[in-house]
Symmetry: C2
Subunit: 152 residues, 2 copies
């Protein structure tokens, strides 16, 4: 867990969080906020990930996306291995300041470590009869070969 108090002021009341002009992120028990990254050109959701205070501060200061990997428990500059960095065109924060939305220019072939442009490469069938139906790969093809990009 990060010492988030060094970078951002702690959140105030609900009214201050929602109506205020101060960025006081409401980090969860693990010190994280949710981040949604969309493609600034297409509006497509590329990925959902997390930021700790350091990742959020670095993203704001640098204009490139930094995240915090929960599985690796480490700060993570998006694209540090793949070269598929994200240039942040705009950042927004939600009403209760526990989520941020970044509109990015995705550099390289894609955002997803599986080789797709977006992590959301499967559609979920909807409707009363949809329970248990198979996911649909859409698009069906990878945008890049992760074994090549990540060195196998």
């Amino acid at each position: 867990m990060s010492d988030n108090t060094t970078t951002f002021m702690p959140p105030g009341s609900a009214s201050e969080l929602e109506q205020g002009r101060a960025l006081t992120p409401k980090f969860d028990a693990d010190g994280l906020v949710t981040c949604v990254a969309t493609d600034v050109a297409t509006g497509e959701v590329l990925m959902v990930a997390h930021m700790n205070a350091e990742a959020l501060a670095k993203t704001i200061a640098s204009g490139e996306a930094w995240y915090y990997s929960r599985s690796r428990r480490a700060l993570w500059r998006k694209g540090e291995t793949s070269g598929h960095i994200q240039r942040v065109v705009e950042m927004r924060v939600d009403c209760d300041q526990d989520a941020v939305w970044i509109k990015v220019t995705q550099v390289g072939a894609g955002a997803c470590h599986t080789g797709r442009r977006s992590c959301f490469y499967r559609r979920v069938p909807l409707g009363a009869e949809a329970a248990g139906k198979e996911l649909v790969f859409d698009p069906g093809e990878r945008a890049f070969d992760p074994d090549v990009v990540y060195g196998g």
Copy 2:
């Protein structure tokens, strides 16, 4: 915490989660996945919220968005008070199946309980000198009066 095993099969290996055709959501310790709702017409992120197994199953079956309110610890049909329901046009799941993305038709004036169309009504200034700078309300005006819609 919900008994999620009654509705969805438990997640398998990383490979099965990422490359499989079965929806086996990776619920967190609280039994929740993250849900991003975007406006199907504009691509705008309307809100980020959470679904437990029941909310996810109801959303899939009904084609209308159901969430789980962490603060109220209750299943929550979006729009049940405001009338601002969300019709789900498409649902997608991400690589590790701990987040879903729904493209919705937002009924009514907005998705946010503060009276805005989107919960992300404030921009965060970016750049090396941005730390501590004030958030920018954009748009500046509310889309509806929450006191009227939610009965004060």
